[in-house]
Symmetry: C2
Subunit: 66 residues, 2 copies
């Protein structure tokens, strides 16, 4: 399955992790979301568009890098 | 009105702030709660017992110092 990896700044705790996961899980095409706080990395499995994923992360209050 | 000031470690973002505020607001005798993330300080107004406040903060997943 396709994976999209986003580098995300501003996730500092498990609340942030949950907020980002929640923001991404409801997007069409997203099969699963894994947030690695230490690596500042979000791995999304599924067919969702990268731009749409990044937009959802930004709208949740975090910054997508690169 | 009496004030209790707690030094709290582990509050890293606004989600943490809200979690601590929520944990303290429901305690009997608490009139208001103010969290200063930068100062790692929680100021509670009212007659609530310091030990009870500290316990609620710890149960929310944070560490009361001193």
């Amino acid at each position: 399955m396709a994976q999209t990896v986003l580098k995300v700044e501003g996730m500092s705790c498990n609340h942030c992790k949950m907020a980002v996961e929640k923001a991404l899980r409801n997007i069409s095409g997203v099969e699963s979301v894994q947030v690695d706080l230490a690596q500042k990395e979000v791995v999304v499995s599924g067919s969702a568009d990268r731009g749409q994923l990044a937009k959802a992360v930004e709208e949740a209050g975090y910054t997508v890098v690169g």
